[in-house]
């Protein structure tokens, strides 16, 4: 089902070009009609991502509405990223990775304690990064605004008998996913610092973020 789609856009014409190190938050507005690219610079890097209607953030990305509307679990070219009110936030227009997860959620200190060992609590995690991101950039928000996210470049296959596995990444250095904003949206990203499983190849690396008008 996953077909790879390349983009004609050249990085040299982008109006925004930023490299986000692993373990850090990023919040940025993407205007309606702009195209947003996330580039996996070194390969196998999970980019944990949330989107909000920029004019009314209570209307935000909904993982369940997104997968149900397309009747398919994985995100790729053609996927419409749906909001809780049933609006299309963005549409994926190019994808050289082929499959992105939205069921696995963000890593957290607390879930690391459950999944791996109670002693793992101090390790850096996406939900802390999301929290710091909103404390710094949207102090009027709180934890209720951290909802169930997209994991770009992450591969979380579900089996027909209802099992779930964390497989080796399908991404590689230079692969990217690109989407067109269908309304003015805010993007909140945590470039995943997880070291306990293969979602980052045990080596979290930067992602490059580009925007075209």
């Amino acid at each position: 089902m996953s077909t790879l789609t390349e983009s004609p856009l050249a990085p040299s014409t982008a109006v925004y070009d930023f490299t986000l190190p692993a373990g850090e938050p990023w919040l940025h507005e993407i205007k309606r009609g702009q195209t947003f690219r996330i580039l996996d610079l070194e390969g196998n890097q999970a980019a944990d991502t949330l989107f909000y209607n920029a004019h009314d953030p209570a209307d935000r990305y909904s993982a369940q509405d997104t997968i149900r509307e397309q009747a398919a679990l994985y995100l790729t070219t053609g996927t419409k990223l749906m909001s809780t009110r049933g609006n299309v936030l963005l549409t994926i227009t190019a994808d050289t990775c082929g499959r992105h997860d939205t069921l696995g959620g963000a890593c957290a200190c607390e879930s690391n304690m459950v999944r791996y060992a109670i002693e793992k609590r101090s390790m850096h995690a996406c939900r802390d990064i999301f929290m710091r991101g909103i404390q710094e950039h949207r102090p009027e928000w709180d934890k209720r605004d951290i909802t169930n996210n997209i994991n770009f470049f992450m591969n979380v296959p579900v089996t027909p008998d209802g099992g779930l596995t964390f497989a080796d990444g399908v991404s590689a250095a230079g692969r990217y996913v690109e989407m067109r904003a269908e309304m003015d949206v805010l993007c909140l990203m945590s470039n995943c610092p997880q070291l306990n499983n293969p979602c980052n190849g045990y080596n979290p690396t930067p992602v490059r973020l580009l925007i075209w008008d």
């Binding site: 089902m1 996953s2 209570a58 209307d59 909904s62 993982a63 369940q64 509405d65 997968i67 149900r68 009747a71 398919a72 679990l73 994985y74 809780t84 049933g86 499959r99 069921l103 696995g104 959620g105 963000a106 957290a108 607390e110 879930s111 304690m113 459950v114 999944r115 060992a117 109670i118 939900r127 709180d142 934890k143 209720r144 605004d145 909802t147 169930n148 979380v156 296959p157 579900v158 089996t159 027909p160 209802g162 099992g163 779930l164 596995t165 964390f166």
Partner: protein
């Protein structure tokens, strides 16, 4: 344990088709949800009643137990690594954690418009709006919505990721027991599943029983089903120390 010891029953209630229900399920009690007629869908959200921003987190629940369905032995986790409820009995076998809830648009497109003005109690309702009505009673709203469970419904995923609703998953009399491990605000409604292909609007009722949980034995099935759940129980018990 199929029959509940009558001396343990606190109260029982029937939720009519398409209706809302909520309750703070106290630690040490169990909620049995029963499919009265067969084919019911019960959409549900859950919160820690003492800290409402701590809520059911289905991604954390699914990935720590490596599951994409819910049944006996599974635990429902918050974003804080704690267990809201554990599923101690289940005669259905599959409850859907992935497909989300019906909304006004999906109900209108599938079944047409039926307003209260004309239809009275037969009007068409949807789970998204029902959740918001019930959340509002606790001072909550749109920002408190999260991924929901659909009890008694089954949605499978094939190797390419395509999702399919499986009719006939639940028979009359099927039940699932949710043993509360924290004081859990349960918000639920009996709206139809968003992928149910039945062409007519036909939500079903559910019967609820709240009873005192039997003491947790050393060989408790949920706690011992995997090491992750043992750690989840430890973290939940620490919260009450």
């Amino acid at each position: 344990m199929s029959a509940i010891d009558p001396s343990l029953v606190r109260f029982q209630e029937v939720v009519p088709p398409g209706a809302n229900w909520s309750h703070v399920l106290k630690r040490g009690t169990t909620l049995r949800i029963t499919d009265v007629e067969g084919g019911v869908n019960v959409s549900a959200l859950m919160y820690n009643f003492e800290l409402l921003c701590e809520r059911l987190n289905l991604p954390d629940t699914l990935k720590c137990q490596h599951i994409a369905r819910l049944t006996k032995g599974h635990c429902l986790y918050t974003d804080m690594g704690r267990i809201l409820v554990s599923i101690t009995e289940d005669t259905c076998g599959w409850h859907d954690p992935i497909a989300g809830c019906s909304n006004a648009k999906s109900v209108r497109e599938k079944y047409g418009v039926k307003r209260y003005q004309e239809a009275r109690n037969e009007w068409h309702k949807n789970a998204h709006d029902n959740f918001l009505w019930e959340l509002g009673k606790y001072g909550m709203g749109e920002r408190d919505l999260a991924m929901n469970i659909n009890f008694f419904s089954k949605v499978t995923v094939d190797g390419d990721g395509r999702m399919a609703f499986q009719p006939g998953n639940s028979q009359a009399g099927a039940y699932v027991d949710l043993r509360s491990e924290m004081n859990t605000l349960v918000i639920l409604n009996t709206c139809v599943h968003p992928l149910d292909p039945t062409p007519v609007y036909a939500p079903k009722p559910t019967h609820l029983t709240i009873f005192t949980s039997p003491p947790q034995a050393p060989d408790d099935y949920c706690r011992n089903s995997r090491p992750e759940n043992e750690r989840g129980f430890i973290l939940t018990e620490r919260y009450f120390l």
